[in-house]
Subunit: 304 residues, 2 copies
């Protein structure tokens, strides 16, 4: 069973890890948001892709939710002494990815090939594909003006009130090599319970990628990011309120209308009338067993 | 007494530190070799300038002879896992200089201004000037072909047999802002006991810098890198042999002919007939007291 999963960072990575224990890992392809990517201190940083790399290689700092386990911080300490911008944390080990990626991009290597090299070095079984090798930049239109994504998300901790979200470059972006083939060959396509507006929408904003999902022979099944009427973590609920949307699985399902065929809801959610087929499960993913359970529940919907 | 010192890395930095204890540190200007500078993993690295920065801010790893005291190595460990080039050691704290320098150069800032900013952040009293803001690259013509300096020096540990040394870009290079003024205003100009061929010659290969030394009203005094008929450390003696030169202070003095007015010799050296005025002292610089003693002995020659 060939599985494709569209994903952002932390929450999505949990589902991808669960999938790799539910089916052969080599049958899993993660297509990853790159709208969060940015250049910081001259370094090309791909937060969601790196979260996938760390999670799937067993290097992730699970307690912290980002970065590497056992990381050291000598670079940040020296940077601070020199008056460098320190609002974005760069661990010493983490820097290796950024330095090698930046150098490879400068040589003209596409991001997809660079990521494949990292995954190979770390013996990662599933395929990790950036949604595009072309730059797409998520911008937040807020009461503090237009903010680049990481400024909104990290520097301003999602505090500004959001009125709109833009994906600059998405209209022109082509799916990375392998993305369309993976979608066409998939037996099931999942949308991870990542933030629909910040993490999944950039993927859907790439025209050829969205069209491939619409055309896919496989069912497209979203795992709801809403649990018991609110978001598990992160800014999803706050953001939906600011965008004038009801915070509910039905609201997310309407947002994905035309793309998804089904949605896996959390068993705690109130009954709702959704425009697509639904199933229910405990969708919280604290342990690895939880992740495998959610992965299996989503995959089971494909057979139904 | 305004002191200018032309210097490479480790050995020269010792003399500059001694000078800063012999006269007010703010009266000292170090003009530093940039022929060793190179781009590694996309990062702009200035080994000699950084050795000055670390030495004069009290951050240098004295035992190791390069880099920072108390450095950590998380970046290199992660880089190795990813198959990155690991022949050049980049400490976690050290990376902050390289990342900030690379980003600032990419923004169009000249190296001299970047270095001044680092020195200010660390409260360094003396002025540290790169010899030029224009790129100059030392290349080693050897029995293994033409090698970029760091490949010869670090990756190949000075093992190849050298037939010539080139300073690519030197002919077109202009002295960095402040260099010519410092030389013109100096009461004494010292040439540090750095490698004459690898560390001092790049400075002398910048035409306007060399001419300024020739025209200077101040005496130009070299501190001999030869002690007891051989070089204190590094590849100087091996290199002189390969270039067909006698390993002696006289040989170094002849090499500097036309530029220097005097040379401070080590007291252990055999008597020699030099083309310039000489004095003798114990020129070994193990302790800070040694460095101050050598600095004072060199400065005393200016008054003679």
């Amino acid at each position: 069973m060939k599985v494709v999963v569209l994903t952002g960072g932390v929450g999505g990575a949990k589902l991808v890890l669960g999938l790799c224990h539910a089916v052969p890992a080599t049958d899993v392809t993660a297509i990853v948001n790159t709208g969060d990517d940015f250049v910081h201190l001259g370094l090309a940083i791909s937060p969601d892709i790196d979260t996938l790399l760390y999670t799937l290689s067993g290097k992730a700092n699970a307690a912290q939710g980002w970065g590497r386990e056992g990381e050291s911080w000598g670079f940040m300490a020296a940077l601070r002494e020199l008056g460098g911008a320190d609002w974005f944390q760069l661990g010493d080990g983490d820097l290796a990815l950024h330095v090698l990626r930046t150098a490879a991009l400068a040589r003209g290597e596409p991001l997809s090939r660079i990521v494949a090299g990292f995954a190979r070095s770390w013996g990662i079984g599933p395929t990790i594909l950036p949604m595009s090798d072309d730059p797409v930049a998520t911008e937040i239109v807020s009461d503090e003006g237009v903010l680049p994504f990481q400024h909104y998300f990290v520097a301003r901790r999602c505090e500004p009130r959001v009125s709109a979200i833009r994906f600059v470059g998405a209209e022109q972006a082509r799916p990375a090599p392998g993305v369309l083939d993976a979608i066409a060959a998939a037996d099931v396509i999942l949308i991870a319970p990542s933030n629909p507006f910040l993490s999944v929408d950039p993927l859907l904003a790439v025209p050829a990628l969205r069209q491939a999902l619409v055309d896919a022979r496989a069912p497209v099944i979203a795992v709801s990011p809403i649990v018991g009427g609110t978001a598990v973590k992160g800014p999803t609920a706050k953001l939906m309120g600011e965008l004038g949307l009801e915070v509910s699985a039905a609201s997310v399902a309407r947002h994905y209308a035309g793309v998804i065929d089904a949605m896996l809801l959390d068993e705690r959610d109130p009954p709702a009338d959704l425009p697509v087929r639904t199933a229910r499960a405990d969708t919280l993913m604290h342990s690895l067993d939880d992740r495998i359970r959610v992965a299996r529940a989503a995959l089971a919907m494909a057979g139904a």
